[in-house]
């Protein structure tokens, strides 16, 4: 068993990798093994996922101790999600062994994995939107009473799992915010009695307070003996929660690290070989020319008895990044939808360059120069079964270089997409590839890149760097800054407070559909911002 820990031969470290300069306080896999207790919950030995011409996971080793929180980090496309899907039985490995509690296990489906006590929350949620929370949680694992589903029992157990912050079991999943959907996903897994929990980028969608809540419950689960594998691009979170860290790069295990003895800088360097970026806006480029303006806009909930957005007024100037801080689900989505014409305003006006566009269609708004990076990239941003170039075209299908009159300009569209791929380092073999074959972070890079290259006047950006690794994040920030210097106005919605504070020229806080505070990003600290966001300080 110990050889599993030392299986990374020196030769297998990629030459462009950590080279002769391993991070100062990082351990090699072999040396970490000596302090390890014998009981391993999971052991992946020499996992290889080979495709014609390539090795996606290249003899990866991963050892996770019973009852620990084990972080897996690595740049976009490194193979993290693939490895987890193998562990979860969703895709079969070509070589290598999955050992669960020391026992070699072959799983051919997620069902097998669940039986082995493994549960997974995916990077992209897999929920039935048209069903309630309760139905989603119990789907496929319904407690029964004879032939009938025992809803009472199900409800009790869900409340037990959820603790005090339990979700209303009768709400429709489609109405939930991203953060809430994630809690449904976790509840779903625990409901099935998982003892090993795989979380693929669970914090990407959460604001710090929610992350803290998540961490509290993860620690609680650890106390109960649950083993957790945790994937994240947010390295400070990784250092906070993890008991040990495995770094993957280009499909290979590069190193393991001890979170108590490594800094985020070193970790970033191990991952991408680059320095940790800072989201810091240098010179102010704000002008007094108003680009996009909302005047007292509001929108009612479906049943019309409650304002989801109430009396929101804001101005985005030329050359300005206006940040909106808030816990997911406080009206951010609706605000963007109104500005974009995806939802009608029940009160107020939207003006673009002084012209009233309240009744303008989404397409016309796009043509008038409003760009959009949607919050929900799978539901709102991408055609997963379509090639990259068609995805780049989405939203710009009526404009050059994607269109020539009523015809699609295939050559122009492909050329533009290639530019996006080059400039934003989208890891793909080409623009004809269907986008579902890209890793999550690379999909996001395409979404961001296509908007930036379209040079809109105003960009409504929701979580622009969600799921993007630290290296690529720096590039995205840089391109936003550059465009801002050219006059771009940005509405920035983000759960990443460092990103918000670092990029924004002005910062507003949204709470229960209202803008409750305006703060100076130059003065405010993440902690202060956090308390505004939860309504603790006002």
């Amino acid at each position: 068993m110990s050889e599993a820990n030392g299986a990374t031969a020196p030769g297998s470290i990629p030459p462009e990798g950590i080279g002769g300069k391993p991070g100062p306080r990082c351990e090699t896999l072999g040396s970490a093994g000596s302090v390890r207790p014998v009981s391993l919950a999971i052991e992946l030995v020499g996992i290889t996922k080979r495709y014609p011409g390539v090795i996606a996971n290249d003899r990866i080793n991963l050892a996770v101790r019973e009852g620990e929180i084990h972080a897996v980090v690595g740049e976009n496309g490194a193979g993290k999600s693939t490895l987890m899907k193998i562990l979860y039985g969703m895709i079969p490995p070509d070589e290598g062994e999955v050992r669960i509690r020391g026992e070699a296990t072959t799983m051919s489906s997620a069902r097998d994995a669940i039986e082995a006590g493994i549960g997974m929350v995916h990077q992209h949620f897999m929920l039935a939107e048209q069903m309630t929370v309760l139905e989603n949680v119990i789907l496929g694992a319904e407690p029964r009473q004879g032939l009938k589903i025992d809803f009472g029992e199900a409800r009790r157990r869900i409340e037990e799992i959820g603790g005090e912050g339990a979700l209303d079991a009768d709400r429709m999943v489609e109405e939930l915010s991203v953060g809430e959907k994630q809690r449904v996903e976790i509840a779903k897994v625990l409901f099935r009695g998982a003892q090993i929990l795989i979380l693929d980028e669970p914090t990407a969608v959460l604001v710090p307070q929610e992350v803290e809540e998540l961490f509290v419950s993860l620690r609680e689960l650890r106390e109960r003996g649950v083993t957790i594998i945790f994937i994240s691009h947010k390295l400070d979170e990784v250092l906070e929660i993890a008991d040990s860290i495995t770094v993957i790069r280009a499909g290979r295990t590069v190193a393991t690290a001890d979170p108590r003895r490594i800094s985020t800088r070193d970790l970033a360097e191990l991952m991408v070989g680059a320095e940790l970026p800072t989201a810091e806006t240098r010179l102010s480029t704000v002008t007094d020319q108003v680009l996009l303006q909302a005047e007292g806009i509001g929108t009612l909930s479906e049943d019309g008895d409650r304002w989801v957005i109430e009396d929101v007024s804001l101005r985005i100037h030329r050359g300005e990044v206006l940040g909106i801080a808030g816990v997911e689900g406080n009206g951010q989505r609706e605000l963007v939808d109104i500005l974009m014409g995806l939802r009608s305003a029940d009160s107020g006006r939207v003006l673009l360059g002084g012209e009233d566009i309240t009744g303008m269609s989404t397409l016309r708004r796009r043509e008038a120069g409003i760009g959009l990076i949607p919050a929900d990239r799978h539901g709102m941003g991408l055609l997963l079964g379509s090639p990259l170039w068609e995805n780049a075209m989405l939203g710009y299908q009526s404009q050059p270089p994607f269109a020539r009159g009523w015809l699609v300009d295939g050559a122009g569209a492909r050329r533009r997409t290639e530019d996006v791929v080059d400039q934003f380092d989208v890891r793909t073999p080409g623009v004809e590839v269907k986008i579902h074959a890209l890793s999550g972070g690379n999909q996001q890079k395409l979404l961001v890149g296509k908007e930036m290259l379209a040079t809109p006047q105003v960009l409504l950006a929701s979580h622009p760097t969600r799921g993007i690794d630290v290296g690529a994040q720096a590039a995205v920030w840089e391109s936003i800054r550059a465009a801002r210097a050219e006059g771009l106005g940005v509405l920035l919605i983000s759960a990443d407070l460092d990103e918000l504070i670092g990029l924004s020229d002005a910062l507003m806080v949204i709470l229960r559909g209202r803008l409750v505070a305006t703060v100076d990003p130059g003065q405010v600290t993440p902690a202060e911002l956090g308390s505004y966001m939860t309504g603790a300080s006002q």
Binding site: Y51, G53, A56, L382, G395
Partner: protein
């Protein structure tokens, strides 16, 4: 490379499905006391005659339009089951209009065709309207509209559009369309290249079918509308975010589908019947669904499917004369369809896997070690 692989899979799986269907049909023939080899032999012999081939094309043309009408809807996830009703009401009204007006040649024909397209478009567009404004699922509304079309067609024909028959003629029909409103056959073209189709007249509409097939390809793959159509079908949410109005797309798609459906009856009307009668061919709309599935909504695939169905339809005529129940052709068509659908599902899974592999393959070109 990937496109080629797809094509190979498509051809191989369709081929296998047809072979499978022939085997099943052979068993059915044998069980019913007929010699399958003999039957197939006769079918083949009869089917490859020039007149049979021309007739097969004639039978294929309406099916091709019908399949394209269905396929346009499929591209955005709309299931237009109403092609049947759409083409029947369209051909009736177009026949009546054609008989009632007098125009110089091409204009006359064009008027008839445009009338049929307009009626089909309106009939189908209504289902689209119902879906958008009233939330009625198009499958329900188009099925209902099929019944309405049948009933309304019978009523219109019996009361307003029929010609006064001479005593003794009991067939209810519209007046005959004059010579200027007929489409010449392509037989001269065939004779010119040395083929003699005998008593069969190769429909002039075959030319329009080819043009329409090309138009279908351009519409779907090279126009903005086609892109918006496919995007709406792939992800309603993403399409909406991209500024594509879902309601408008539904209505437009149904209108276009219906306009193509209006062309279904034109080959028989302009090339053979020259009037609408109660024995005008039916079921073309439903068979079109099968052809669209067989051809996977692809213009070339659907053409192949339509020709195949047309050929079987013609070739099995001989069985009747030799005392073998002609119904076997229906069974054959059903079995082909079923096997193709199954083969398609199986192959699709394999294609996806292969594509995924190819992608990752190209991603790290450094490690090229196997095919």
């Amino acid at each position: 490379m990937r496109a080629n692989r797809r094509l190979v899979y498509a051809v191989v799986s369709s081929g296998l499905a047809i072979v499978f269907a022939l085997l099943v049909s052979a068993v059915i023939l044998a069980v019913s006391g007929n010699n399958p080899f003999e039957a197939y032999g006769q079918m083949f012999e009869y089917g490859v005659r020039v007149d049979s081939l021309a007739s097969a094309v004639n039978r294929a043309v309406p099916l091709y339009f019908s399949a394209m009408a269905v396929a346009v809807g499929f591209k955005m996830g709309l299931f237009n089951i109403g092609v049947e009703g759409q083409y029947r009401i369209a051909v009736l009204i177009a026949a009546a209009v054609g008989a009632a007006i007098a125009l110089p040649g091409p204009l006359h024909v064009l008027t008839i065709i445009l009338t049929a397209m307009a009626v089909g478009a309106a009939w189908s567009g209504f289902a689209g309207y119902l879906k958008v404004k009233r939330g009625v699922h198009e499958v329900i509304s188009t099925i209902m509209l099929n019944y309405v079309a049948t009933g309304m067609g019978a009523f219109l024909l019996a009361n307003w559009l029929r010609q006064e028959n001479p005593p003794g003629d009991l067939v209810i029909k519209t007046p005959e369309i004059p010579q200027s409103g007929r489409l010449p056959s392509l037989n001269q073209l065939l004779e010119w290249v040395g083929l003699d189709p005998g008593r069969v007249n190769l429909y002039g509409m075959a030319v329009l079918a080819v043009v329409a097939g090309f138009g279908f390809h351009v519409l779907i793959n090279h126009t903005r509308f086609g892109f918006e159509l496919r995007a709406s079908g792939a992800s309603a949410g993403a399409a909406r975010t991209a500024g594509i109005d879902p309601g408008r797309m539904v209505v437009l798609t149904m209108v276009i589908s219906g306009a193509i459906a209006g062309l279904v009856g034109m080959a028989h009307l302009l090339g053979f019947f020259h009037r609408y009668t109660i024995d005008f061919p039916t079921m073309l709309g439903f068979t079109g669904i099968a052809v669209a599935l067989l051809g996977r909504n692809h213009p070339v695939g659907m053409a192949a499917g339509a020709l195949l169905f047309g050929w079987f339809d013609r070739a099995t005529q001989i069985l009747d004369l030799r005392g073998i129940p002609k119904e076997i052709v229906f069974i054959l068509q059903g079995v082909i369809l079923l096997s193709v659908v199954v083969a398609y599902a199986v192959v699709e899974v394999r294609i996806r896997a292969a594509e995924s592999r190819a992608v990752t393959g190209a991603l790290r070109p450094g490690a090229e070690d196997e095919s």
